[in-house]
Symmetry: C2
Subunit: 248 residues, 2 copies
């Protein structure tokens, strides 16, 4: 398996060592080599290295320490603006301000982000995706001056790891793979798939710390609560509308 894929982990603690400009440029160039919808490159990457800007963005990412600690923060944005400006300048009428093209552009941005992640790791750097980019998308738009047609879809810190991070466990591969058609999960499948994780020492520690009887309830009652999920849904949809992805 490609070394960077096999050894990928989310790094949450970084040294102060800066990312050399030529390494950052190689990471950004790697991002642009990913497949994109019709080679339209419907994304932009906003690079944050300025400490004051990182501090302004930190609350958008729930003040996770890695946001201000890591030397580089990348915000990957769906971007139909650049392409639409080009079209108009050439007398062509772009009709990309709609949901399908938000999703095409988001896809472009996300494939680019994964290339950036792996390329960073190939240079000995660590990364951590910040899913919070969609929780607080409107504030990020303000701070990064994202105009109509541009919206954050994910973010990532990049830097030199301060410590070794263990690999994260995954469900067995066959738990996420279906042959020819989707084979729905029986209660027995569900038990089998999660067995190892549910029996782990890490889970035992989490249950103890949270005073809850099982791991699933840590997800629904602590990590990703219904009311928060619905608030994020509403605010991200509103942000997409405000940024012009639901005009038609």
């Amino acid at each position: 398996m490609i070394n960077e894929i096999k050894n990928h982990r989310s790094v949450r603690s970084y040294t102060a060592q800066p990312v050399p400009e030529e390494v950052l440029n190689e990471i950004l160039a790697a991002a642009t080599r990913a497949s994109t919808t019709g080679n339209m490159q419907l994304y932009s990457i906003v690079v944050t290295e300025d400490q004051a800007m990182k501090e302004r963005l930190a609350p958008c990412h729930f003040n996770q320490p890695c946001v201000t600690q890591a030397p580089v923060l990348l915000t990957f944005c769906a971007d139909i603006r650049r392409f639409s400006l080009w079209c108009r300048q050439r007398g062509a009428e772009p009709v990309y301000d709609n949901f399908a093209w938000f999703f095409n552009a988001a896809t472009d941005a996300l494939l680019a982000s994964q290339n950036a992640a792996l390329e960073a790791e190939a240079h000995g750097l660590g990364i951590c995706y910040l899913g919070t980019a969609i929780y607080t998308a409107s504030r990020i738009c303000d701070i990064l001056s994202l105009p109509e047609g541009v919206v954050p879809v994910t973010a990532m810190v990049v830097g030199y790891p301060a410590a070794d991070t263990p690999l994260t466990d995954r469900l067995p591969v066959d738990a996420v793979v279906h042959r020819e058609t989707y084979k729905d999960y029986t209660p027995g499948d569900i038990d089998r798939i999660w067995h190892e994780r549910e029996c782990s020492r890490e889970t035992a520690g989490l249950l103890e710390a949270n005073g809850l009887p099982n791991l699933a309830r840590i997800f629904t009652e602590r990590r990703y609560k219904g009311e928060d999920n619905l608030a994020i849904s509403r605010s991200y949809l509103e942000c997409l509308k405000k940024q012009g992805f639901f005009n038609q």
Copy 2:
């Protein structure tokens, strides 16, 4: 730069040589190593190798010959179902049937897909993303028996390339990168960014073949027309509702 990233191209013509099972398994395992939202792995991968199934799916991908020609077709799906079944089985109440979690799950699926693409290429295989997966998502749901909580977000053919494919040009890296804040594009920027592509021999050939005065109009009038874009928006949103991603 990581070799597979640097040399990635979309391959549209394949030999009949099958993908060995152990190679396919390595590709699928690589997919599962990508970052995922809270390590929830909110995606499923449906593997199509059966020729009759590929023929049923081909119209969903506009009968592009590679769909039936390539030995393997992978459909990457956002999947909140498996996780929600687990939660319910443990007495936890999942609230993931909403837009935010469609997007989290889509992100998981797309990062996994890019790992799969690169890992396939590391084994000498070629791939091509099929953005058509969102155009005809409801039909794909029917053919692959995708239940509520599962929806296609992208697809990819995988196989041994029948011919060399040239690298695709990209906009200059600085065209998609912004430092600290989004720098909006001036008309001069737009001209500069697209200059090389607009002056290429490939573009000249396309203009001739399409009888159109510029490349932008090939996109808006031939490749991605307004009426089609709006139809895709409507049908994909309807499919997301039908599959239970807008329940709340």
